[in-house]
Symmetry: D2
Subunit: 145 residues, 4 copies
């Protein structure tokens, strides 16, 4: 139960810098809004490349933001282990995101074990309270070296 | 039960052209290798932007290819309904894809109902028989207009 | 957005009676603790038949309670439509439930559309705050007759 | 890659006896039809307690059979480790099972790692070729003692 009370060991700035160094491919795709104990909020400015027919945001775009949000929420708690990887992800697409609003993801870690983390995320179009998608991810945490 | 015997109503070339027109954002990301009855094989040439720490391909990249593969497999059977959308997706990441091989996705439609399609996909690094990921998707099919 | 503000149209007693009549097979397996707007809490007294090696509660038992909880949460909002059925369910088993505590499930409807409902559930062993499992279900709602 | 070529280390009879001893609660619920390399076929005689409104088989019944099928498929390959447990399960319910036919589940192990197994199952009503449900499970394998 101790993990529920743990504090983050990395700040928002440290995580932003870590991502820029280790994952230069995605550093311009998203912004870390907030890091909390077992929580993170991230944001993606929606661009033309994220859109799909009907003026909506693509599923892979939502998956990408959720995956990044879960990754930073976990690293915030366990420190900079780049090789932490997704093992399972489930997404329900519930409503059509807006093409002209930032996409937000609010992440909450439900279990932070030694080997596995189980994490929830809800995605929103900024300015709208109804979630556009829900994501559940399981991450594998590398053993201490 | 008739759907299991149905033949595709769009060819590989018609689907490639449809994607280029309706989803210009992704047309250069993937190639349709084969269309069959209730099946499709698609391919993504892996590029630098798809990579992640440890020399592997990102989860969102695999999700993107699977989503496109499922989309074309369904459109092949029902015709060009751009607004067909993913409602649920589950991915298991099983093995580390290779950074220097094309990513392949073999898609099989398990159920093609009037309103919902249920579809399986297996992802591979070209040249390796062990799947790197499995994906299951449910798509919502728009009513006939 | 209106659904978020909707009130239940069936009470806890009406739902208990409905289950006893329509699903006599399960009426003794669980208890409805609370019905709220877009929410329900249900409980299963754990019995010998639910146990598994290592003194824990079986996965199918958790699935059964979650499925019943989601069903009553939806019927509470839409009325007694017995043919409402699960189309997709995902469960993450996170911690070992206790063999000698009631199993609880707290259900929250995330989306209540005309044809589909998307619902979250968290399962607990009574007396312990850390969830033992998380479940996500999609239900198909029959059209108005 | 070796796992794909591995042979089972337990026979059908040894597994049936193991289940009877370790899980007496379920031994009368299902039958092991066949064990193969990385595969198993199991069967559940459908009884009154498995039924639901509309003359169909309940979702939890399908989950129960799939969970048992995956469990025996894994134990067949790794030997009698009772504490092997499900960590994640996803089910898609695709067609209505028949109330008066046995429920079958055909299980295939996609990955058998040291710590995790990833497994697919397709459920059928005996005598009907169209699957009624698909299940995907991840199991955690206890370390060697």
């Amino acid at each position: 139960m101790g993990s529920e009370l743990m504090q983050p060991v990395m700040t928002k700035d440290e995580l932003t810098e870590f991502i820029a160094r280790e994952m230069p491919q995605v550093k311009d795709d998203f912004v870390i809004d907030r890091i909390g104990p077992m929580e993170a909020d991230v944001r993606m400015p929606v661009a033309y490349r994220h859109l799909r027919p009907g003026g909506t945001v693509s599923g892979p775009t939502m998956f990408t933001l959720a995956d990044l949000g879960v990754y930073v929420a976990i690293l915030a708690m366990i420190g900079p282990k780049a090789l932490t990887v997704t093992t399972n992800a489930t997404i329900d697409f519930m409503r059509k995101p807006e093409a002209d609003a930032d996409l937000l993801c609010k992440v909450k870690i439900l279990k932070l074990g030694r080997a596995l983390a189980v994490v929830d995320g809800l995605l929103y179009s900024e300015g709208n309270e109804a979630p556009v998608a829900r994501v559940n991810m399981t991450y594998s945490i590398p053993p201490k070296g």
